[in-house]
């Protein structure tokens, strides 16, 4: 990618919990249209890093730039407004809503209705509702669960809830989607389906950043990878470069690599 354009820039991001440094001075750049992975052993600070980017945790120091806007210490909803949405490792579907309502909520930012307009049900409110329902349906079709639109979200199997979260994250037409361990808890069939969805959406121009344990997926779909260990960045590059990075192999891939070589 020679003409790659940076969409997200993480600069010297650090998070301290009391005396513990969970993420230390991590920097990287994510290009537009890229599938970017953050990997590392348990406790490496991946989720903390994610939470700082999405505003769930305030950074102790360092900055996050998104298309030249400084997003550091912004609230999660402001970060969503900027165009970054996410999914969750421990699924966070809106359990009290139907599937399509979940996705329609995802499109919250694309709508303008306010409390008074909604209460009086002005004609434009209904118009907007119909439009957003169509958007939501299209998002569901894209991930392949449109047939379940009117089911209660919580009744969906695990894999479909993951897809639902992706549809919901995509509904506001964001520029970047962050996936927190998207493969966790999925069976091989569901994983394949999810990978297909991610690749398809990338082709349509979406940028993905994801944290993942499933090395097979990481190596097969990511364009570039950042490796964390004990909160420190120990490697960055394409999957091939990561395989050949001795630091990474020592810290993390050691056992795993053998498995893959044997497999």
């Amino acid at each position: 990618m020679s003409e790659a354009k940076t969409i997200l820039k993480v600069e010297n991001l650090t998070k301290q919990f009391g005396g513990v440094v969970a993420v230390s001075d991590v920097s990287f750049k994510v290009n537009k249209g890229e599938i970017f992975a953050v990997i590392g052993p348990n406790g490496a600070g991946k989720t903390t890093l994610f939470n700082m980017i999405t505003g769930v945790l305030p950074a102790s120091s360092g900055n996050v730039f998104f298309e030249d806007k400084n997003l550091t210490r912004k609230k999660p909803y402001q970060i969503a407004q900027a165009g970054i949405t996410r999914t969750f490792q421990n699924l966070e579907v809106f359990s009290n809503m139907s599937v399509i309502e979940n996705v329609m909520t995802g499109a919250h930012l694309t709508m303008k209705t306010n409390l008074l307009m909604a209460g009086l049900r002005l004609p434009m409110v209904t118009k907007e509702e119909v439009k957003i329902m169509e958007t939501a349906m299209a998002c569901l079709e894209r991930v392949g669960i449109a047939g379940l639109a009117h089911e209660l979200a919580i009744t969906l199997p695990y894999g479909n809830q993951r897809l639902l979260e992706i549809a919901r994250a995509a509904a506001s037409d964001p520029k970047v989607i962050l996936l927190d361990e998207p493969m966790a808890g999925l069976n091989p069939e569901e994983s394949r389906q999810l990978v297909d969805v991610i690749l398809k959406m990338r082709e349509e121009g979406m940028t993905f950043i994801f944290v993942e344990h499933d090395m097979e997926t990481v190596m097969s779909i990511s364009d570039r990878i950042v490796v964390l260990d004990n909160g420190v960045k120990i490697g960055e590059g394409t999957p091939e470069e990561i395989y050949q990075n001795p630091k990474v192999v020592a810290a993390y891939l050691g056992d795993e690599e053998e498995e893959y070589v044997n497999a």
């Binding site: 966070e92 579907v93 309502e101 409390l115 209904t126 119909v130 329902m133 169509e134 349906m137």
Partner: protein, 352 residues
């Protein structure tokens, strides 16, 4: 996709919106008793408060134990403006709602940083403060002696001075309130509110400004309560601080929970259950326990609350909805297979 497809998203039916006005219109004709009308005026006033609280509790997931304060603010604003200053009761009503809204913002900003029990305690504290203010600002409120001689409401010369007229006035407000809330729930705002209850962290991540919506619905519920308070003041023409104490807030909460906080209709059902049971208790308690006073009411409702929470955590309204939906089942079963077929054709049979 057409407008009618929205109805599949919000599977609520219109049946309540048809039944309620008919019941309201017919009730005074069928039972022309001023006692019954009085009861149902109170049901309507409470239903208005509960309507707002249902939005707050059931949809935004925030508990308030201080709504009697807003109820009181409405009542006293109306009383002072229409009696002390001699202005139109409608102005009092609107001013009350504005004051209640402003106070809700002031109280809401710090309290919504709290969660669960702490929020409930903070609102309880707020209610007690306002109650004390009603008592202590004697020049304005008449203190513990109460406020006398609040005039009745009139609209373009039409005086709402009989129980029958007031009954219709109150229930028009209730009906408008229900439609207003229902519209909000079936919109972007409603989804945002429900998403807060579903998962606050995910709601935040899709861009819902949680604080803003909690605050908006808190303000809205305060305004509903204030409106109800105004209606009460002009109906009973005499108010005192005890009407707006912490106990009243607790009764409101009981009504919302018994009626069911997941449905706007729960507010009407809860208020009716509370008032009607209260009246029954007044009649039968002296027979069962001749020496006991009115405090027994709270014991009874306390037990009822616990039983409701254990056996029907979503209150009475889902039970009633089940009964209503039985009537509608037939229609639904015919429609569903057709819809699926259409979808299959449209997508080439992919999305099954």
């Amino acid at each position: 996709m057409e407008k009618k497809d929205l109805k599949k998203v919000y599977h609520n039916s219109f049946i309540g919106l048809i039944i309620l006005p008919i019941l309201i219109a017919v009730l005074p004709v069928v039972i022309p008793s001023s006692y019954i009308l009085t009861i149902f005026i109170m049901v309507g006033i409470y239903a208005l408060v509960c309507n707002g609280m249902t939005m707050l509790i059931g949809y935004a997931g925030q508990i308030s134990l201080g709504h009697a304060a807003f109820y009181g603010i409405g009542a006293y604003s109306s009383a002072i403006i229409s009696t002390t200053y001699g202005l139109s009761p409608w102005i009092g009503m609107i001013v009350g709602m504005i004051i209640a809204g402003i106070i809700a913002i002031i109280v809401g900003i710090p309290t919504f940083k709290l969660k669960g029990h702490y929020l409930a305690l903070a609102t309880l504290g707020f209610g007690i403060i306002v109650f004390t203010l009603f008592k202590e600002f004697r020049e304005l409120t008449g203190g513990s002696n109460g406020f006398f001689g609040i005039p009745s409401i009139n609209l373009f010369g039409f005086e709402f001075n009989s129980d029958l007229r007031y009954f219709y006035l109150v229930w028009v407000f209730v009906f408008i309130g229900i439609i207003f809330s229902r519209n909000i729930i079936h919109s972007r705002i409603g989804r945002a509110l429900r998403s807060i209850e579903g998962s606050e962290i995910a709601s935040d991540a899709v861009g819902v400004n949680i604080m803003k919506y909690k605050l908006q619905v808190f303000v809205l519920s305060a305004m509903f309560a204030s409106l109800a308070g105004s209606l009460l003041a002009h109906y009973v023409s005499f108010i005192n601080p005890d009407l707006f104490g912490a106990m009243t807030s607790i009764y409101f909460l009981i009504m919302v929970i018994i009626g069911g906080s997941k449905s706007i209709w729960g507010s009407v059902i809860g208020a009716a259950t509370y008032v009607l049971l209260g009246e029954l208790l007044k009649h039968f308690m002296p027979i069962l326990l001749p020496n006991k006073g009115g405090e027994f009411e709270i014991v009874f409702f306390g037990i009822l609350l616990v039983v409701t929470l254990i056996y029907m955590p979503n209150g009475l309204s889902p039970q009633l909805e089940k009964i209503f939906s039985k009537f509608q089942k037939k229609k639904v079963t015919i429609e569903t297979p057709l819809q699926i077929n259409k979808k299959q054709i449209a997508s080439g049979g992919e999305n099954q």
